[in-house]
Amino acid sequence: MASPDDLRLIDRLHGGFPLCDRPFAEVAATLGCTEDMLIDRLQRLLAHGDLTRFGPLFQIERAGGRFVLAAMAVPEQRFETVAAQLGAMPEIAHNYRRESAHPDQPGATPLNMWFVIAVEHADQVDRVTQDIEAMTGLPVYAFPKEREFFVELRLPLLPGGHHVPG
């Protein structure tokens, strides 16, 4: 489990990592630690899985690419196999198992595998969904965004729910 210091570091490094020659040294100075200490801690957080990545996050849609949310209803006995098949595809950026909070209510969704197709060219999306359908024999439901209202995943990591400024 990450320590309070780790949470402060992660919050501080949410974005704005400097584009300068020695960026870790610059950030370390604001945190009151050394460049080596900061690098060591980031390595540890990545190795432990507290961070999944450290670096630039690309919004490929600005260059003609696409991120498309899609879902499938995968039978339980095949779930792991299908997850592994999608796991091997470079076009699949994320994949989550999801379960309805109200599985017994009428109209509850049977869609239990939700993934994001990320491709460099918009016209690759259909091929990827067709490949998945051919590979798994299951229908893929694509949910392309028709309108984006707000996107900023930044959770209140610190006690009190406030972010450190900057």
Partner: protein, 160 residues
Amino acid sequence: MSLDELDRRIIRATQSGLPLVPRPYEAVGAALGISGEQVRERLQAMLDEGLVRRIGAVPNHYRLGFTANGMSVWDVADERVDELGERVGQLPFVSHCYRRPRRAPVWNYNLFAMLHGRSRDEVEAQAQQVAALLGDACRAHDILYSTAILKKTGLRISES
């Protein structure tokens, strides 16, 4: 913005992460046969264009205590979904909010809002606030909790 070959090479070299060394841009440049300065200039241009959303840490929210991650989905009257989606997106606990197509008969929801909490009770309370905001424009809703991360690598562009 269209990507030229150098941009694509920089994306490929950094999409899984920056090298954790004192001069990370220098290291990326060395691998590509260009200077660290050039790498920084290109990344700055991509930031300015919005092609880089941010440079920083991508946390694993489960590991950091946010174990309840609910994709709340709402069947909202078409003529009101844009106006109401705008307001749902402003709620402080909503991280992503989108209008998406329905897929009848398996899927009747057209508004998606991601909710995150340290418990499902916390997420349920957030969903109640969304429900109150939507009022009678909303016919039905559900919350789909993520119960396993099967993959989380982000974009991977390949060799052209």
